[in-house]
Point group: C2
């Protein structure tokens, strides 16, 4: 048996951000498993079987990949961004842990990619240049009180905050609550970045204050980053730069 | 004037993790500015001037890069990992903000890379598969009380935590304090990953409990990741997998 699984990050969209390591895995694969729009990014070729699936069937998709590898297939599980950040790697390991013992003998690799928050940060400047946190705002997988508690503690810690999955049609209210909590704990002046479809032809970047932020500025293709108390804007002819300095003043600086 | 600056992430070490976008910038550059060991990763060629510099002179290095670009040179600022995560992007923007007005007309791009925590996470499994934070443990740039406050709040928020620059010869005590605080707030059983020199020939991975963790398990080439209360270990013949499930149980799950 020479099957394997590579859980691979395709990055945020621009093919120039796909690592050579991921390209090499795709070149050797017999099967690609993943959410339809991500599998659609893989160039078809003879001998490569594509298995696109719907959203929200991560565990089924993971089990399919593990089963294919156990049968000797060479399987790429395609994630956007980085597979370890709110993506398929954890789902594959959940399925592995719950699955048959022989799956634990499989060759499983995680191939990192450029995750959305770092692509968005790069396009806007360096808002994550000091301590920060990453929070998935989808409440499919955790209750809202947990999200709100984390928002309040992260603000108290003065982290910059990167928010994945801020808003969907199925849950339009959560992001409005999030903005209300953030305004309460960070104040109206704090800058917030809405970075939509970064590195794709549809990319838009918008930096406003929390007081100006509106829920409809985000959708599921938007990465939202809120600055820390130290985050600054540099005005330029070509557009503003949003960045967080490296230091916090104090006895140690 | 056709000068530009590309603040580029070379990733954690493996050349198969350098994006084609960064390779393209290096191919067009006239100058590479950066910390010596990172500049040493760039292949020399005719017409390319390398400007290696010492550690801890980030602002001088940033000003050199901006000045070269203002003179029409095409400058890559070489960072390891991702330039926006505890690296050169914020330093360049600090220098830009403090510098002459004409620098604000420069063409400046940040080219993302695979940051150390995501490379380490990928090698170990998916410990950052749920909400997490990233903290720079160096107290060169912020006072220890700020670090300790953030540790306590991050633990209360139940984030997985990724620690950059955990320990150096110049400040051997800070990481011992960090481990003591973490044991107090997370308990002795919580898993901690020491991932040294990930993706290089020197790579070592070690997963222990906080109770077993010792300061000397980390140095400046080590990425440290502490799990959340939900982080799990899957035992396998080929070595353990460390991962954090995607969900938190509760009314919303």
């Amino acid at each position: 048996m020479s099957g394997w699984i590579a859980i691979a990050g395709l990055g945020p969209g621009d093919e120039a951000l796909v690592t050579p390591q991921v390209d090499a895995a795709l070149a050797e694969a017999t099967d690609v498993v993943g959410y339809g729009p991500y599998v659609a990014r893989v160039r078809p070729r003879e001998g490569l079987v594509l298995h696109p699936s719907d959203n929200r069937v991560e565990l089924d998709r993971a089990a399919l990949a593990l089963d294919l590898a156990a049968r000797g297939r060479r399987v790429v599980v395609a994630s956007s961004g980085d597979p370890g950040v709110f993506a398929m790697a954890a789902a594959v390991f959940e399925a592995l842990e719950a699955g048959p013992e022989h799956w634990r003998a499989l060759d499983i690799q995680v191939l990192p990619g450029i995750t959305a928050m770092l692509a968005a940060s790069a396009r806007a400047g360096a808002p994550l240049g000091h301590d920060f946190c990453a929070i998935n705002l989808s409440d499919n997988l955790k209750p809202w009180p947990v999200i709100e508690k984390r928002l309040r503690l992260a603000a108290e810690a003065d982290f910059a905050m990167a928010f994945y999955n801020p808003r969907s049609k199925a849950r339009p209210d959560g992001f409005a609550h999030t903005l209300a909590v953030l305004r309460e704990v960070c104040g109206d002046e704090r800058p917030i970045l809405f970075a939509r479809a970064v590195t794709t032809p549809d990319e838009t970047l918008r930096i406003v204050s929390l007081g100006e932020a509106r829920p409809e500025m985000a959708d599921m293709r938007t990465m939202v980053i809120v600055g820390s108390s130290r985050t600054r804007i540099i005005e330029r002819p070509a557009g503003p730069i949003l960045y967080t300095p490296r230091s916090v003043p104090g006895e140690g600086s």
